[in-house]
Protein backbone atom coordinates (compact mmCIF):
# COMPACT_ATOMS: atom_id res chain seq x y z
CA UNK A 1 0.00 0.00 0.00
CA UNK A 2 2.74 2.43 0.96
CA UNK A 3 4.89 1.30 -1.93
CA UNK A 4 2.39 2.75 -4.42
CA UNK A 5 3.22 6.32 -3.46
CA UNK A 6 6.92 6.28 -4.14
CA UNK A 7 6.96 4.09 -7.19
CA UNK A 8 4.16 6.24 -8.57
CA UNK A 9 6.76 8.75 -9.75
CA UNK A 10 8.89 7.04 -12.36
CA UNK A 11 6.91 5.33 -15.11
CA UNK A 12 9.01 2.74 -16.94
CA UNK A 13 8.50 2.75 -20.71
CA UNK A 14 10.61 2.47 -23.81
CA UNK A 15 10.46 5.91 -25.41
CA UNK A 16 12.69 8.58 -26.89
CA UNK A 17 11.98 10.85 -23.97
CA UNK A 18 13.04 8.17 -21.49
CA UNK A 19 16.30 7.73 -23.37
CA UNK A 20 17.22 11.41 -23.45
CA UNK A 21 20.14 12.61 -21.37
CA UNK A 22 18.84 13.84 -18.00
CA UNK A 23 20.58 17.19 -18.59
CA UNK A 24 18.48 17.68 -21.70
CA UNK A 25 15.33 16.98 -19.77
CA UNK A 26 16.35 19.36 -16.99
CA UNK A 27 17.08 22.08 -19.52
CA UNK A 28 13.91 21.36 -21.45
CA UNK A 29 11.76 21.61 -18.35
CA UNK A 30 13.44 24.89 -17.45
CA UNK A 31 12.95 26.31 -20.94
CA UNK A 32 9.32 25.28 -20.92
CA UNK A 33 8.61 26.87 -17.54
CA UNK A 34 10.39 30.10 -18.42
CA UNK A 35 8.52 30.28 -21.72
CA UNK A 36 5.22 29.98 -19.89
CA UNK A 37 5.95 33.06 -17.84
CA UNK A 38 7.85 35.06 -20.45
CA UNK A 39 5.11 35.18 -23.07
CA UNK A 40 1.61 36.33 -22.36
CA UNK A 41 0.01 36.30 -25.79
CA UNK A 42 -2.68 33.68 -26.43
CA UNK A 43 -0.70 32.45 -29.46
CA UNK A 44 2.16 31.50 -27.15
CA UNK A 45 -0.15 29.21 -25.21
CA UNK A 46 -1.27 27.51 -28.38
CA UNK A 47 2.39 26.78 -29.18
CA UNK A 48 3.06 25.59 -25.62
CA UNK A 49 0.04 23.29 -25.72
CA UNK A 50 1.13 21.74 -28.99
CA UNK A 51 4.69 21.25 -27.75
CA UNK A 52 3.56 19.71 -24.46
CA UNK A 53 1.12 17.40 -26.20
CA UNK A 54 3.82 16.26 -28.61
CA UNK A 55 6.27 15.48 -25.79
CA UNK A 56 3.66 13.61 -23.76
CA UNK A 57 2.77 11.60 -26.85
CA UNK A 58 6.42 10.75 -27.45
CA UNK A 59 6.98 9.71 -23.83
CA UNK A 60 4.43 6.87 -24.06
CA UNK A 61 3.31 7.61 -20.50
CA UNK A 62 -0.49 7.41 -20.20
CA UNK A 63 -2.09 10.82 -19.74
CA UNK A 64 -3.67 9.56 -16.53
CA UNK A 65 -0.26 9.51 -14.84
CA UNK A 66 0.64 12.94 -16.19
CA UNK A 67 -2.47 14.44 -14.68
CA UNK A 68 -2.04 12.68 -11.33
CA UNK A 69 0.24 15.45 -10.09
CA UNK A 70 -2.56 17.97 -10.58
CA UNK A 71 -4.55 16.46 -7.73
CA UNK A 72 -2.12 17.87 -5.20
CA UNK A 73 -2.44 21.45 -6.48
CA UNK A 74 -6.19 21.41 -7.07
CA UNK A 75 -6.81 23.50 -3.95
CA UNK A 76 -4.19 26.11 -4.84
CA UNK A 77 -5.52 26.21 -8.37
CA UNK A 78 -9.07 26.91 -7.25
CA UNK A 79 -8.02 29.61 -4.82
CA UNK A 80 -5.92 31.34 -7.49
CA UNK A 81 -8.73 31.25 -9.99
CA UNK A 82 -11.36 32.54 -7.55
CA UNK A 83 -9.19 35.39 -6.29
CA UNK A 84 -8.22 36.49 -9.77
CA UNK A 85 -11.79 36.28 -10.99
CA UNK A 86 -13.26 38.54 -8.36
CA UNK A 87 -10.49 40.85 -7.27
CA UNK A 88 -9.08 42.27 -10.49
CA UNK A 89 -10.60 45.62 -11.40
CA UNK A 90 -11.62 46.45 -14.97
CA UNK A 91 -14.62 46.29 -17.29
CA UNK A 92 -17.44 44.51 -15.47
CA UNK A 93 -18.93 41.53 -17.26
CA UNK A 94 -21.07 39.85 -14.67
CA UNK A 95 -22.42 40.87 -11.29
CA UNK A 96 -23.32 38.32 -8.63
CA UNK A 97 -24.67 39.98 -5.49
CA UNK A 98 -21.79 42.24 -4.34
CA UNK A 99 -19.08 40.64 -6.43
CA UNK A 100 -18.16 41.69 -9.94
CA UNK A 101 -16.38 39.61 -12.49
CA UNK A 102 -14.39 41.67 -14.94
CA UNK A 103 -13.04 41.01 -18.41
CA UNK A 104 -9.50 41.37 -17.11
CA UNK A 105 -10.27 39.10 -14.17
CA UNK A 106 -11.40 36.29 -16.46
CA UNK A 107 -8.34 36.67 -18.65
CA UNK A 108 -5.88 36.61 -15.75
CA UNK A 109 -7.65 33.70 -14.07
CA UNK A 110 -7.56 31.62 -17.21
CA UNK A 111 -3.90 32.40 -17.87
CA UNK A 112 -2.90 31.68 -14.29
CA UNK A 113 -4.74 28.37 -14.32
CA UNK A 114 -3.14 27.33 -17.61
CA UNK A 115 0.30 28.30 -16.37
CA UNK A 116 -0.03 26.36 -13.14
CA UNK A 117 -1.40 23.28 -14.85
CA UNK A 118 1.31 23.34 -17.52
CA UNK A 119 3.98 23.90 -14.89
CA UNK A 120 2.97 20.77 -13.02
CA UNK A 121 2.37 18.63 -16.09
CA UNK A 122 5.63 19.86 -17.63
CA UNK A 123 7.69 18.86 -14.63
CA UNK A 124 5.77 15.59 -14.34
CA UNK A 125 7.04 14.71 -17.80
CA UNK A 126 10.56 14.95 -16.43
CA UNK A 127 10.02 13.02 -13.18
CA UNK A 128 7.92 10.33 -14.85
CA UNK A 129 10.49 9.60 -17.54
CA UNK A 130 13.72 9.93 -15.54
CA UNK A 131 14.80 7.73 -12.66
CA UNK A 132 15.77 9.75 -9.59
CA UNK A 133 19.31 8.45 -9.90
CA UNK A 134 19.85 9.60 -13.43
CA UNK A 135 18.31 12.92 -12.47
CA UNK A 136 20.90 13.48 -9.77
CA UNK A 137 23.58 12.33 -12.20
CA UNK A 138 22.40 14.98 -14.62
CA UNK A 139 22.36 17.62 -11.90
CA UNK A 140 25.87 16.74 -10.84
CA UNK A 141 27.20 17.09 -14.34
CA UNK A 142 25.25 20.24 -15.10
CA UNK A 143 26.42 21.90 -11.88
CA UNK A 144 30.04 20.88 -12.28
CA UNK A 145 31.26 24.41 -13.04
CA UNK A 146 30.26 25.35 -9.48
CA UNK A 147 33.14 23.20 -8.24
CA UNK A 148 35.45 26.05 -9.15
CA UNK A 149 33.93 28.10 -6.33
CA UNK A 150 34.27 25.13 -3.92
CA UNK A 151 30.70 23.93 -3.96
CA UNK A 152 30.87 20.17 -3.13
CA UNK A 153 28.80 19.21 -6.15
CA UNK A 154 29.67 15.53 -6.12
CA UNK A 155 28.97 15.12 -2.41
CA UNK A 156 25.65 16.91 -2.67
CA UNK A 157 24.51 14.77 -5.54
CA UNK A 158 25.68 11.61 -3.79
CA UNK A 159 23.69 12.57 -0.71
CA UNK A 160 20.68 13.25 -2.87
CA UNK A 161 20.81 9.96 -4.71
CA UNK A 162 21.32 7.98 -1.52
CA UNK A 163 18.42 9.77 0.13
CA UNK A 164 16.22 9.10 -2.88
CA UNK A 165 17.24 5.47 -2.88
CA UNK A 166 16.37 5.13 0.79
CA UNK A 167 12.89 6.61 0.65
CA UNK A 168 11.16 3.54 -0.79
CA UNK A 169 13.25 1.24 1.40
CA UNK A 170 12.28 3.08 4.56
CA UNK A 171 8.64 3.25 3.53
CA UNK A 172 8.63 -0.48 3.00
CA UNK A 173 10.33 -0.95 6.34
CA UNK A 174 7.68 1.24 8.00
CA UNK A 175 4.97 -0.89 6.47
CA UNK A 176 6.65 -4.06 7.72
CA UNK A 177 7.26 -2.85 11.28
CA UNK A 178 3.75 -1.47 11.51
CA UNK A 179 2.33 -4.84 10.54
CA UNK A 180 4.64 -6.67 12.93
CA UNK A 181 3.52 -4.48 15.84
CA UNK A 182 -0.12 -4.76 14.82
CA UNK A 183 0.35 -8.52 15.04
CA UNK A 184 1.33 -7.86 18.67
CA UNK A 185 -1.87 -5.94 19.24
CA UNK A 186 -0.52 -2.42 18.68
CA UNK A 187 -3.07 0.17 17.62
CA UNK A 188 -2.01 3.06 15.42
CA UNK A 189 -5.43 4.53 14.68
CA UNK A 190 -7.44 5.24 17.82
CA UNK A 191 -6.92 7.47 20.86
CA UNK A 192 -6.29 11.19 21.28
CA UNK A 193 -3.20 12.99 20.04
CA UNK A 194 -1.02 12.18 23.06
CA UNK A 195 -2.13 8.56 22.99
CA UNK A 196 -1.39 8.40 19.28
CA UNK A 197 2.07 9.89 19.70
CA UNK A 198 2.79 7.34 22.43
CA UNK A 199 1.59 4.55 20.18
CA UNK A 200 4.17 5.57 17.60
CA UNK A 201 7.09 4.56 19.84
CA UNK A 202 6.97 0.87 18.86
CA UNK A 203 7.15 1.99 15.25
CA UNK A 204 9.71 4.78 15.45
CA UNK A 205 12.34 3.10 17.61
CA UNK A 206 12.80 0.09 15.33
CA UNK A 207 12.60 2.35 12.30
CA UNK A 208 15.44 4.59 13.50
CA UNK A 209 17.54 1.62 14.47
CA UNK A 210 16.99 0.11 11.06
CA UNK A 211 17.83 3.37 9.30
CA UNK A 212 21.10 3.68 11.22
CA UNK A 213 21.95 0.05 10.63
CA UNK A 214 21.37 0.47 6.91
CA UNK A 215 23.36 3.69 6.77
CA UNK A 216 26.19 1.99 8.61
CA UNK A 217 26.12 -1.03 6.30
CA UNK A 218 26.09 1.19 3.24
CA UNK A 219 29.03 3.26 4.48
CA UNK A 220 30.97 0.05 5.14
CA UNK A 221 30.14 -1.37 1.74
CA UNK A 222 31.16 1.85 -0.02
CA UNK A 223 34.39 2.04 1.91
CA UNK A 224 35.15 -1.62 1.24
CA UNK A 225 34.79 -0.96 -2.46
CA UNK A 226 37.21 1.93 -2.33
CA UNK A 227 34.89 4.91 -2.39
CA UNK A 228 36.84 8.06 -1.56
CA UNK A 229 34.69 10.95 -2.70
CA UNK A 230 34.38 12.56 -6.07
CA UNK A 231 38.07 13.24 -6.87
CA UNK A 232 39.20 11.09 -9.77
CA UNK A 233 36.05 9.00 -9.69
CA UNK A 234 34.91 7.59 -13.01
CA UNK A 235 31.43 6.50 -13.98
CA UNK A 236 30.17 3.22 -15.32
CA UNK A 237 27.72 5.03 -17.56
CA UNK A 238 29.17 8.48 -18.18
CA UNK A 239 26.72 11.02 -19.50
CA UNK A 240 27.59 11.68 -23.11
CA UNK A 241 25.34 13.58 -25.46
CA UNK A 242 23.99 11.45 -28.30
CA UNK A 243 22.57 12.69 -31.56
CA UNK A 244 19.04 12.66 -30.20
CA UNK A 245 20.14 14.93 -27.35
CA UNK A 246 21.52 17.48 -29.78
CA UNK A 247 18.31 17.27 -31.77
CA UNK A 248 16.38 17.84 -28.57
CA UNK A 249 18.36 21.02 -27.83
CA UNK A 250 17.69 22.15 -31.37
CA UNK A 251 13.96 21.52 -30.90
CA UNK A 252 14.03 23.64 -27.76
CA UNK A 253 15.57 26.49 -29.68
CA UNK A 254 12.98 26.12 -32.44
CA UNK A 255 10.26 26.08 -29.79
CA UNK A 256 11.44 29.37 -28.36
CA UNK A 257 11.73 31.02 -31.79
CA UNK A 258 8.28 29.84 -32.86
CA UNK A 259 6.83 31.00 -29.58
CA UNK A 260 8.44 34.41 -29.95
CA UNK A 261 7.20 34.84 -33.52
CA UNK A 262 3.75 33.55 -32.67
CA UNK A 263 3.27 35.92 -29.78
CA UNK A 264 4.26 38.85 -32.02
CA UNK A 265 1.99 37.84 -34.88
CA UNK A 266 -1.32 38.84 -33.34
CA UNK A 267 -2.87 35.97 -35.21
CA UNK A 268 -5.57 35.27 -32.67
CA UNK A 269 -6.70 38.88 -32.59
CA UNK A 270 -6.91 39.01 -36.37
CA UNK A 271 -8.84 35.77 -36.47
CA UNK A 272 -11.25 37.04 -33.83
CA UNK A 273 -11.53 40.36 -35.61
CA UNK A 274 -12.68 38.74 -38.83
Amino acid sequence: MIRDITLGQFYPADSVIHKLDPRVKLAGTMVFIVSLFAFRAPEAYVVATLALAAVIRLSKVPLKFMLKGLKSILMILMITVVFNLFLIPGTPVLRIWKLTITQEGIETAVFMAIRLVYLIVGSSVMTLTTTPNSLTDGLEKALRPLKKIHVPVHEISMIMSIALRFIPILLEETDKIMKAQMARGADFDSGNIIQKAKNMVPLLVPLFISAFRRANDLAMAMEARGYHGGEGRTKMKPLIYAKRDKLAYLSMLCYLVVMFLASRSGLVERLLGL
Binding site: K179, A180, A183, S210
Partner: protein, 284 residues
Protein backbone atom coordinates in the same frame (compact mmCIF):
# COMPACT_ATOMS: atom_id res chain seq x y z
CA UNK B 1 -12.25 -24.75 15.43
CA UNK B 2 -10.06 -24.12 12.40
CA UNK B 3 -9.00 -21.73 9.70
CA UNK B 4 -10.57 -22.07 6.30
CA UNK B 5 -9.52 -20.18 3.19
CA UNK B 6 -11.80 -20.05 0.17
CA UNK B 7 -10.93 -18.82 -3.32
CA UNK B 8 -8.52 -16.26 -1.93
CA UNK B 9 -6.86 -13.85 -4.38
CA UNK B 10 -4.55 -11.01 -3.58
CA UNK B 11 -3.20 -8.32 -5.90
CA UNK B 12 -0.53 -5.82 -4.78
CA UNK B 13 -0.76 -2.21 -6.09
CA UNK B 14 -3.91 -2.94 -8.05
CA UNK B 15 -4.55 -0.61 -10.95
CA UNK B 16 -0.99 0.75 -11.24
CA UNK B 17 1.93 -0.08 -13.49
CA UNK B 18 3.32 -2.19 -10.62
CA UNK B 19 0.36 -4.54 -10.25
CA UNK B 20 1.34 -7.98 -8.97
CA UNK B 21 -1.00 -10.91 -8.60
CA UNK B 22 0.52 -12.54 -5.50
CA UNK B 23 -2.17 -15.10 -4.60
CA UNK B 24 -4.36 -17.01 -7.06
CA UNK B 25 -7.45 -18.90 -5.98
CA UNK B 26 -6.05 -20.35 -2.76
CA UNK B 27 -8.25 -22.90 -0.97
CA UNK B 28 -7.02 -24.39 2.29
CA UNK B 29 -8.32 -25.91 5.46
CA UNK B 30 -6.06 -25.70 8.51
CA UNK B 31 -7.51 -27.80 11.33
CA UNK B 32 -6.57 -27.32 14.99
CA UNK B 33 -3.40 -28.76 16.37
CA UNK B 34 -1.66 -29.54 13.09
CA UNK B 35 2.02 -28.85 12.51
CA UNK B 36 2.07 -27.49 8.97
CA UNK B 37 4.95 -26.47 6.75
CA UNK B 38 4.46 -23.89 4.00
CA UNK B 39 7.19 -24.06 1.45
CA UNK B 40 7.93 -22.30 -1.82
CA UNK B 41 10.53 -20.46 -3.80
CA UNK B 42 11.23 -16.78 -2.94
CA UNK B 43 8.35 -14.69 -4.26
CA UNK B 44 5.90 -17.58 -4.39
CA UNK B 45 3.49 -15.78 -2.05
CA UNK B 46 4.17 -17.46 1.29
CA UNK B 47 4.45 -14.25 3.30
CA UNK B 48 1.48 -12.77 1.51
CA UNK B 49 -0.61 -15.84 2.32
CA UNK B 50 0.14 -15.91 6.04
CA UNK B 51 -0.60 -12.20 6.45
CA UNK B 52 -4.18 -13.05 5.49
CA UNK B 53 -4.52 -15.46 8.39
CA UNK B 54 -4.68 -12.66 10.97
CA UNK B 55 -6.28 -10.04 8.74
CA UNK B 56 -3.22 -7.84 8.19
CA UNK B 57 -3.88 -8.10 4.47
CA UNK B 58 -7.38 -8.22 3.12
CA UNK B 59 -7.97 -10.50 0.15
CA UNK B 60 -8.84 -8.82 -3.14
CA UNK B 61 -11.47 -11.53 -3.44
CA UNK B 62 -12.35 -14.68 -1.56
CA UNK B 63 -12.91 -15.34 2.12
CA UNK B 64 -11.09 -16.42 5.26
CA UNK B 65 -13.00 -18.14 8.06
CA UNK B 66 -11.70 -18.36 11.61
CA UNK B 67 -13.66 -20.87 13.68
CA UNK B 68 -16.42 -20.74 11.13
CA UNK B 69 -16.82 -16.96 11.05
CA UNK B 70 -15.83 -14.88 8.01
CA UNK B 71 -13.19 -12.40 9.15
CA UNK B 72 -14.16 -9.95 6.39
CA UNK B 73 -17.58 -9.61 8.00
CA UNK B 74 -18.65 -6.13 9.08
CA UNK B 75 -17.50 -5.50 12.66
CA UNK B 76 -15.33 -8.62 13.01
CA UNK B 77 -13.09 -8.21 16.10
CA UNK B 78 -9.78 -7.92 14.21
CA UNK B 79 -7.61 -7.23 17.25
CA UNK B 80 -8.92 -10.31 18.99
CA UNK B 81 -8.14 -12.32 15.87
CA UNK B 82 -4.57 -11.02 15.92
CA UNK B 83 -4.13 -12.27 19.48
CA UNK B 84 -5.55 -15.68 18.52
CA UNK B 85 -3.43 -16.06 15.39
CA UNK B 86 0.10 -15.08 16.45
CA UNK B 87 2.22 -14.10 13.49
CA UNK B 88 6.00 -13.97 13.81
CA UNK B 89 7.38 -12.00 10.85
CA UNK B 90 10.60 -12.69 9.03
CA UNK B 91 13.54 -11.14 10.95
CA UNK B 92 11.24 -10.48 13.92
CA UNK B 93 14.16 -9.10 15.96
CA UNK B 94 13.81 -5.90 13.92
CA UNK B 95 10.60 -5.09 15.78
CA UNK B 96 12.15 -5.01 19.28
CA UNK B 97 11.96 -1.55 20.81
CA UNK B 98 11.71 -1.66 24.60
CA UNK B 99 14.43 -0.87 27.13
CA UNK B 100 14.79 -4.47 28.23
CA UNK B 101 13.91 -7.94 27.04
CA UNK B 102 11.23 -8.58 29.62
CA UNK B 103 9.34 -5.32 28.98
CA UNK B 104 9.42 -6.00 25.27
CA UNK B 105 7.82 -9.39 25.69
CA UNK B 106 5.14 -7.76 27.88
CA UNK B 107 4.09 -5.47 25.01
CA UNK B 108 1.77 -8.02 23.38
CA UNK B 109 -0.13 -9.22 26.43
CA UNK B 110 -0.36 -5.63 27.73
CA UNK B 111 -2.15 -4.67 24.52
CA UNK B 112 -4.71 -7.37 25.30
CA UNK B 113 -5.72 -5.41 28.41
CA UNK B 114 -4.72 -8.11 30.89
CA UNK B 115 -3.88 -7.46 34.56
CA UNK B 116 -0.21 -6.66 35.28
CA UNK B 117 0.23 -9.96 37.15
CA UNK B 118 -1.15 -11.94 34.24
CA UNK B 119 1.02 -9.98 31.78
CA UNK B 120 4.14 -10.83 33.77
CA UNK B 121 3.17 -14.44 34.22
CA UNK B 122 2.73 -14.84 30.48
CA UNK B 123 5.98 -13.06 29.69
CA UNK B 124 7.93 -15.35 32.05
CA UNK B 125 6.23 -18.40 30.65
CA UNK B 126 6.94 -17.36 27.04
CA UNK B 127 10.59 -16.57 27.71
CA UNK B 128 11.01 -19.87 29.47
CA UNK B 129 9.46 -21.70 26.54
CA UNK B 130 11.79 -20.18 23.98
CA UNK B 131 14.68 -21.22 26.21
CA UNK B 132 16.19 -17.85 27.03
CA UNK B 133 18.27 -17.79 30.22
CA UNK B 134 16.92 -15.67 33.06
CA UNK B 135 20.10 -13.56 33.31
CA UNK B 136 19.20 -11.98 29.96
CA UNK B 137 15.71 -10.78 31.00
CA UNK B 138 16.81 -7.34 32.18
CA UNK B 139 19.30 -6.74 29.39
CA UNK B 140 18.63 -4.42 26.48
CA UNK B 141 17.47 -6.50 23.52
CA UNK B 142 20.24 -4.92 21.45
CA UNK B 143 22.96 -6.51 23.59
CA UNK B 144 21.89 -10.02 22.63
CA UNK B 145 23.11 -12.22 19.81
CA UNK B 146 21.05 -12.67 16.64
CA UNK B 147 19.62 -16.00 17.72
CA UNK B 148 18.76 -14.71 21.19
CA UNK B 149 17.04 -11.64 19.78
CA UNK B 150 14.95 -13.84 17.60
CA UNK B 151 13.88 -15.91 20.60
CA UNK B 152 12.84 -12.76 22.41
CA UNK B 153 10.76 -11.70 19.40
CA UNK B 154 9.10 -15.10 19.20
CA UNK B 155 8.41 -14.95 22.94
CA UNK B 156 6.73 -11.58 22.32
CA UNK B 157 4.11 -13.35 20.22
CA UNK B 158 3.88 -16.45 22.44
CA UNK B 159 3.11 -14.28 25.43
CA UNK B 160 -0.21 -13.45 23.81
CA UNK B 161 -1.00 -17.19 24.10
CA UNK B 162 -2.24 -17.59 20.53
CA UNK B 163 -4.22 -20.62 19.37
CA UNK B 164 -2.37 -20.61 16.08
CA UNK B 165 1.32 -19.78 15.81
CA UNK B 166 2.62 -18.74 12.39
CA UNK B 167 6.36 -18.33 11.86
CA UNK B 168 7.69 -16.74 8.66
CA UNK B 169 11.13 -18.20 7.91
CA UNK B 170 12.17 -18.27 11.58
CA UNK B 171 15.61 -19.63 10.73
CA UNK B 172 16.61 -17.11 8.04
CA UNK B 173 20.13 -15.83 8.62
CA UNK B 174 20.93 -18.13 11.54
CA UNK B 175 23.83 -20.57 11.70
CA UNK B 176 23.02 -24.33 11.60
CA UNK B 177 23.17 -24.58 15.38
CA UNK B 178 20.84 -21.60 15.92
CA UNK B 179 18.53 -22.97 13.24
CA UNK B 180 18.22 -26.39 14.89
CA UNK B 181 17.74 -24.81 18.31
CA UNK B 182 14.86 -22.63 17.13
CA UNK B 183 13.16 -25.43 15.21
CA UNK B 184 13.50 -27.81 18.17
CA UNK B 185 11.96 -25.19 20.44
CA UNK B 186 9.07 -24.73 18.04
CA UNK B 187 8.49 -28.49 17.88
CA UNK B 188 8.52 -28.63 21.68
CA UNK B 189 6.03 -25.78 21.84
CA UNK B 190 3.73 -27.63 19.51
CA UNK B 191 3.91 -30.69 21.73
CA UNK B 192 3.47 -28.75 24.99
CA UNK B 193 0.77 -26.30 24.04
CA UNK B 194 -1.13 -28.36 21.48
CA UNK B 195 -1.53 -25.29 19.28
CA UNK B 196 -1.58 -25.18 15.51
CA UNK B 197 1.88 -24.31 14.19
CA UNK B 198 2.45 -23.04 10.66
CA UNK B 199 6.09 -22.94 9.70
CA UNK B 200 7.11 -21.05 6.56
CA UNK B 201 10.41 -21.98 4.96
CA UNK B 202 12.12 -22.37 1.65
CA UNK B 203 14.19 -25.31 2.81
CA UNK B 204 12.64 -28.77 2.56
CA UNK B 205 15.33 -30.17 4.79
CA UNK B 206 14.21 -27.91 7.65
CA UNK B 207 10.59 -28.71 7.28
CA UNK B 208 10.67 -32.42 6.55
CA UNK B 209 11.98 -33.29 10.01
CA UNK B 210 9.18 -31.64 11.91
CA UNK B 211 5.90 -31.16 10.14
CA UNK B 212 3.03 -33.56 9.50
CA UNK B 213 1.72 -31.70 6.45
CA UNK B 214 3.39 -29.70 3.71
CA UNK B 215 1.79 -27.02 1.56
CA UNK B 216 3.86 -26.19 -1.52
CA UNK B 217 3.34 -22.75 -3.05
CA UNK B 218 4.36 -21.78 -6.56
CA UNK B 219 3.67 -18.44 -8.26
CA UNK B 220 0.85 -17.64 -5.84
CA UNK B 221 -0.87 -20.99 -6.18
CA UNK B 222 -1.03 -24.02 -3.91
CA UNK B 223 0.77 -26.68 -5.90
CA UNK B 224 0.83 -29.63 -3.51
CA UNK B 225 -0.79 -30.19 -0.13
CA UNK B 226 -0.30 -33.37 1.84
CA UNK B 227 1.86 -35.46 4.17
CA UNK B 228 5.60 -35.07 3.56
CA UNK B 229 5.99 -38.51 2.01
CA UNK B 230 3.18 -37.79 -0.45
CA UNK B 231 4.64 -34.45 -1.42
CA UNK B 232 8.18 -35.77 -1.82
CA UNK B 233 7.00 -38.35 -4.30
CA UNK B 234 6.81 -35.42 -6.68
CA UNK B 235 10.50 -34.69 -6.16
CA UNK B 236 11.11 -34.26 -9.86
CA UNK B 237 8.31 -31.72 -10.26
CA UNK B 238 9.50 -29.96 -7.11
CA UNK B 239 12.86 -29.40 -8.74
CA UNK B 240 11.20 -27.70 -11.67
CA UNK B 241 9.73 -25.06 -9.35
CA UNK B 242 13.05 -24.41 -7.69
CA UNK B 243 12.66 -26.66 -4.68
CA UNK B 244 14.47 -29.83 -3.75
CA UNK B 245 13.26 -32.81 -1.80
CA UNK B 246 15.42 -33.79 1.21
CA UNK B 247 18.67 -35.47 0.24
CA UNK B 248 17.53 -38.82 1.62
CA UNK B 249 14.72 -38.88 -0.94
CA UNK B 250 17.28 -38.81 -3.73
CA UNK B 251 19.44 -41.42 -2.00
CA UNK B 252 16.54 -43.78 -1.48
CA UNK B 253 15.36 -43.45 -5.07
CA UNK B 254 18.89 -44.12 -6.34
CA UNK B 255 19.22 -47.20 -4.12
CA UNK B 256 15.82 -48.47 -5.19
CA UNK B 257 16.87 -47.92 -8.79
CA UNK B 258 19.87 -50.20 -8.21
CA UNK B 259 17.63 -52.94 -6.93
CA UNK B 260 17.84 -52.42 -3.16
CA UNK B 261 14.51 -53.11 -1.44
CA UNK B 262 14.44 -49.78 0.45
CA UNK B 263 11.47 -47.58 1.36
CA UNK B 264 11.54 -44.64 -1.06
CA UNK B 265 9.05 -42.74 1.11
CA UNK B 266 11.52 -42.21 3.95
CA UNK B 267 11.72 -38.48 4.68
CA UNK B 268 14.22 -38.22 7.50
CA UNK B 269 17.76 -39.47 7.90
CA UNK B 270 16.66 -41.78 10.75
CA UNK B 271 13.89 -43.39 8.72
CA UNK B 272 16.25 -43.82 5.79
CA UNK B 273 18.92 -45.43 7.97
CA UNK B 274 16.40 -47.90 9.41
CA UNK B 275 15.18 -48.80 5.97
CA UNK B 276 18.72 -49.33 4.67
CA UNK B 277 19.63 -51.56 7.65
CA UNK B 278 16.51 -53.60 7.02
CA UNK B 279 17.38 -53.93 3.35
CA UNK B 280 20.95 -54.97 4.17
CA UNK B 281 19.71 -57.55 6.68
CA UNK B 282 17.43 -59.02 4.02
CA UNK B 283 20.19 -59.25 1.41
CA UNK B 284 22.79 -60.86 3.63
Amino acid sequence: MSIKIEHLNYVYSEGTAFERHALRDVNLELPDGQFIGVIGHTGSGKSTLIQHLNGLLRGTSGAVYYNGRNIYEEGYPMRELRSKVGLVFQYPEHQLFEVDVFTDVCFGPKNLGLSPEEVERRAYEALRQVGLKEKHYKKSPFELSGGQKRRVAIAGILAMEPEVLVLDEPTAGLDPRGRDDILDQVAKLHAERHITVILVSHSMEDIARYVERIIVMNKGEVRYDGAPREVFQHYQELEQIGLAAPQVTYLMHDLAGQGWPVDTDATTVEEAADSIYAALAKKC
